[in-house]
């Protein structure tokens, strides 16, 4: 039997060979009946070209126990993902030591304080390290003391508290402790009820964190900063320096970044975010509601953009320029694109012949399984299967399905904020005539098509993929590359297939923006054309019959 890497498989071959409906059936056969019924809704054969309609997918539903999911928890979403990248807030995990320990520096959110003297607490891990007596008698006293000790040692401008599973169970009132200590110490202190068991994935934690930041920080600083075109970048976490590259490009275009939620962010940026004139959303899933709330409260319109892929970056820059409707900006953006593109096209030209026709699969959280398909397209690679770890239906099917999404008990546990216009700070950024004119030009506000519209027909879209399903896909499709996270990495690679981590970028990056595209092209070229996979069989394993002959002779 030849090894996987010996077979040259391209997209067309795969499609000719494999009936996705049959494969789906085969996957489901292994499961107990009830599990199969549930998974059937979460595994969808995309039919976009044939019927131009987006199928409904089961998403944001409970994980099936024992299935070997790759999902994380609400605490991980709240503390790790959203609050983790902000450098100058002291984040205290209230709970036993594990949660704080595991979320300590592991997400690669880079940060760059303006000077050596500026605050940066990201290298620290703060925990109340609850012991059994705290569980029995309650941990509020210890939390209070911990906040005091953190204040005495560091004098930060803000402290936030994160509840872990047992804290919710024993009923520590973290919010009242935060209120008391805020009054006592005179700095901003707020808490998150982000116990791991809430919701069905880390997505619930994003929601809780964003609500908290919106309630406790956004709008506290009304200083209007210099800058002709002021935007916020939402849903960008500066993994491997992505936000630095995006910031470089924006600066070059003359666009001012007021705040990033939450990559390379600071408390003051959040406080001042409401002074921007446009919100741009990278990861729709983790933050769309913040954009909605900021529009409602402050009058800032929002658009979906994507800085993953050079074409996507150019398109997003043009969209931002179109929004501001200023010829100077429109021209500048074109100049920047023209300046940056030659180098990108040069590298793409080198890489493409080596990658063309190869296949990829992407199973990553939030927007990454969607956005990275653009980059693969640029070097001629096709995505034959993809899915999200913690998305909701709108991330797959587009925002138009939002009204039809049923809210279940698990989602109802996550607080929805009631937002009204801020009497002092609300300011429409565009007149209604301007908005109409833009819309007439085809400009889309508050819009997101979702992943499925952009994927080919007959591709498999799978929500919350299990380890077993991952194995099946690899066995059947033998993709040239599989994109997922650290938990999947080595299992996939043992099959002789490279796995690109798209959460941590395998400790490389940036991959966003123009320079990022170049990095990614080279990285994927390296991975899908690496010699390592050709050595899986030793010479004597490739042709054992020779030695048999020798023995006979």
């Amino acid at each position: 039997m030849s090894s996987i890497c010996d077979e040259k498989i391209n997209f067309e071959d795969v499609c000719d060979r494999i009936d996705p409906e049959e494969l789906k059936k085969e996957i489901l056969e292994k499961y107990p009946t009830k599990v199969a019924r549930k998974r059937a809704k979460q595994i969808v054969v995309n039919r976009i070209a044939t019927c131009n309609e987006v199928q409904e997918i089961g998403a944001n539903v409970r994980t099936i126990p024992g299935i070997i999911t790759q999902r994380g928890c609400t605490y991980a979403g709240c503390k790790g993902v959203i609050m983790g990248p902000t450098r100058d807030i002291v984040n205290i995990t209230h709970g036993p030591i594990g949660c704080g320990f595991y979320s300590w520096l592991t997400r690669r959110n880079q940060t760059k304080p303006p000077t050596e003297n500026d605050e940066n607490f990201m290298t620290y891990c703060f925990s109340t390290d609850m012991q059994d007596k705290d569980i029995v008698f309650g941990g509020e006293k210890k939390l209070r003391a911990a906040i005091q000790e953190a204040y005495d040692l560091f004098k930060p401008k803000a402290i936030s508290i994160f509840s872990t599973c047992p804290v919710g169970l024993i009923g520590d009132d973290v919010h009242s402790v935060a209120r008391d200590m805020k009054e006592k110490l005179g700095i901003n202190i707020f808490a998150f009820s982000c116990e791991g068991y809430k919701g069905v994935s880390q997505s619930a934690g994003h929601h809780i964190a964003n609500n908290g930041i919106f309630t406790h920080v956004v709008g506290l600083d009304d200083t209007v900063k210099e800058g002709k075109y002021k935007i916020n970048l939402l849903g960008e976490y500066n993994i491997g320096g992505d936000a630095f590259e995006i910031d470089r490009i924006l600066k070059k275009c003359g666009i001012t970044l007021i705040s990033t939620f939450s990559g390379n962010s600071s408390y003051d940026q959040f406080a001042n975010a409401h002074t921007a004139d446009l919100n741009t959303i990278m990861c729709h899933r983790s933050i769309n509601y913040v954009a909605e709330m900021m529009e409602e409260k402050f009058g800032i319109p929002w658009i979906k953009i994507n800085f993953i892929g050079s074409e996507a970056t150019a398109k997003s820059l043009r969209k931002i320029a179109q929004y501001f409707q200023d010829q100077e900006l429109i021209d500048r953006v074109e100049e920047v694109i023209a300046e940056e593109m030659p180098e990108i096209l040069k590298v793409r030209g080198e890489v493409r012949p080596r990658c063309e026709g190869k296949t990829a699969m992407l199973f990553v959280g939030g927007s990454r399984a969607h956005h990275y398909q653009e980059l693969f397209k640029e070097i001629g690679m096709k995505t034959i299967s993809a899915g999200y770890e913690f998305a909701h239906r709108d991330d797959y099917e587009g925002r138009e399905v939002i009204p039809t999404i049923k809210v279940d008990a698990d989602s109802r546990n996550i607080e929805e904020l009631e937002i009204t216009q801020d009497p002092d700070r609300y300011r429409p950024r565009k007149s209604s005539e301007e908005l109409e004119r833009l819309k007439a030009e085809g400009f889309k506000f508050k819009d997101y098509d979702g992943m499925m519209r952009e994927m080919d027909s007959e591709t498999l879209v799978i929500d919350d993929i299990s380890q077993y399903e991952t194995e099946k896909l690899i066995e059947v499709f033998k993709p040239a590359i599989f994109c997922a996270g650290i938990k999947e990495k080595y299992a996939v690679q043992k099959h002789g297939i490279p796995l690109k981590q798209l959460h941590s970028y395998d400790y490389g990056g940036p991959y966003a923006g123009f320079k990022g595209a170049i990095n990614f092209y080279r990285e994927i070229d390296r991975m899908v054309n690496s010699k390592v996979w050709s050595y899986l069989k030793a010479p004597w394993q490739k042709s054992p019959e020779l030695s048999a002959k020798y023995a006979c002779d």
Binding site: S3, V35, P65, P96, T106, N120, D134, A145, L169, G485
Partner: protein, 458 residues
């Protein structure tokens, strides 16, 4: 400065842990469970715990780490996790077909008080556990002990569930290797093999978490102690437990349950601790120590003698797990280095007295702390710097800020490889440790020396 906010002035803290030198029980239990052949660890609680533990173990070993979770939601937290666990057991045996499911609890399921044996009986009554397959468990609340305690509890569970005494003693010695690397487990087996002793090593993660690349992923690879061997541990002549904290409880449980006498030793890290291990093994098995082992011992001793000038008097800061630190401290003292700061996050007062005893003749004040953290260690270093630091990856921040040579040792090591392939136990392991220490110290000397003092031969 990455840790720019750490002040030199030390204030006692009663509530806030900063930069912990330990993590929680379940990850240790998961690691131990992976050392049973055909076992899928299962985390009973919300799914984040399992995701975190798998991620951290994967980053450390750079190998697949499979485990399942009960995926608690709010409902299960209120009404208990029975339905989740029964469903999980059914799904795991149906889809993944392991021999054993090793369930460990989390702080969530411990706090609501889920009774795992009762739930397992329910799963069995419902026909969810196929004939000849097993579900074992350990209670591992995260608010007690540390990852070492979790390892210890799951290892003890192996005895509680499997060990049987038939009354007929076998010429075999059980070895509980402690919370060490797959390479260390392999090395312990090799040393026993050199002595010609039949052993059962449990848990055994060699060939599980340092597997070859073959082009084929196997969820349950060749390695790990088999259930059959675990059953037989009850008939062995004796048990050697390496590491009081991680291995003591399992060995004592075997003594109580099956009357297998035990010797609890320090981890065989360094010359003297390895000597004691080999000596006890020899006596218990009634064998002679072969020349091959004497040769290895002599080589280690030779390097200590040859390079003594570079070790002598060097101040060292150590952070890690108690069992490792006790042996490592003894080793450093034996080569005339001065371990002056020794910190573990794992609770247990015995640790401090043991280190104090080992370092009583060190000609310098020695600060030791159980239930300490790396913030405190950093403050000590700010007050009086050291020549070398030994500990896990998180020390790299202090190392960079304070410009101190650093040897990675312990758990977790997220940014280097080697630990799962090259042992630090035994005489060969001692040689490797010395090599790493010398590399760090001599590289520093090369970097810092003046041009006229730059040495070609060292």
């Amino acid at each position: 400065m990455l840790l720019r906010h750490t002040p030199k002035e030390i204030r006692e803290r009663s509530a806030l842990t900063i930069n912990p030198a330990k993590t929680c029980q379940p990850i240790g239990a998961m690691y131990a469970a992976l050392g049973i052949h055909g076992c899928l660890p299962h985390s009973h609680g919300s799914q984040g715990c399992c995701a975190y533990h798998r991620s951290t173990l994967t980053r450390h070993y750079k190998e697949p780490v499979m485990a399942a979770t009960s995926s608690f939601t709010e409902g299960s937290s209120v009404f208990g996790g029975q339905a989740n666990l029964v469903q999980a057991i059914d799904n795991i045996f149906t889809i993944y077909e392991p021999e054993v499911i090793a369930v460990h609890t989390t702080c969530l399921s411990e706090t609501i008080g889920d009774d795992i044996p009762q739930i397992t009986r329910k799963a069995e009554a419902d026909g969810k556990i196929p004939k000849g397959k097993y579900v074992i468990h350990a209670n591992t609340p995260s608010y007690v002990g540390s990852h070492v305690t979790g390892f210890s509890n799951m290892t003890k569970a192996m005895v509680d569930y499997f060990a049987v005494s038939t009354g007929k003693k076998e010429d075999c010695i059980n070895i509980v290797p402690g919370y060490v690397e797959p390479a260390d487990m392999e090395e312990i087996k090799r040393i026993a093999g050199e002595l010609g002793v039949r052993t059962i090593l449990f848990p055994d993660t060699s060939n599980v978490l340092n597997r070859p690349q073959t082009g084929k992923f196997e969820m349950f690879p060749r390695g790990g102690v088999t259930v059959e061997s675990l059953v037989k541990t009850g008939d062995s002549k004796a048990t050697i437990a390496l590491g009081h904290l991680a291995s003591g409880p399992a060995a004592r449980a075997l003594d109580t349950k099956c009357k297998v006498p035990c010797e609890i030793l320090d981890l065989p890290i360094g010359l003297s601790a390895t000597d004691r291990f080999v000596d006890v093994l020899r006596k218990l098995a009634g064998v002679h120590v072969p020349d091959s082992i004497n040769l290895e011992r002599g080589q280690l001793l030779d390097v200590i003698a040859d390079m003594h000038q570079y070790f002598y008097g060097k101040k060292v800061a150590l952070v890690g797990d108690p069992d490792q630190l006790i042996s490592l401290t003894e080793f450093l003292v034996s080569i005339d280095m001065m371990p002056i700061y020794v910190v573990t996050g794992t609770p247990g007062k015995k640790f401090e007295s043991r280190i104090n005893e080992i370092t009583k003749d060190v000609p310098h004040e020695v600060k030791v702390r159980a239930e300490g953290d790396m913030f405190l260690l950093h403050q000590w270093i700010k007050n009086e710097p050291v020549d070398l630091m030994i500990g896990n990856t998180y020390l790299k921040y202090i190392s960079r800020d304070e410009d101190i040579p650093f040897v990675r040792f312990g758990f977790p090591i997220l940014d280097r490889i080697g630990h799962s392939y090259f042992p630090t136990v035994g005489y060969r392991g001692g040689l490797r440790l010395l090599e790493k220490i010398l590399d760090a110290l001599l590289d520093r000397q090369d970097r810092d020396s003046s041009e006229e003092g730059f040495e070609l031969v060292m």
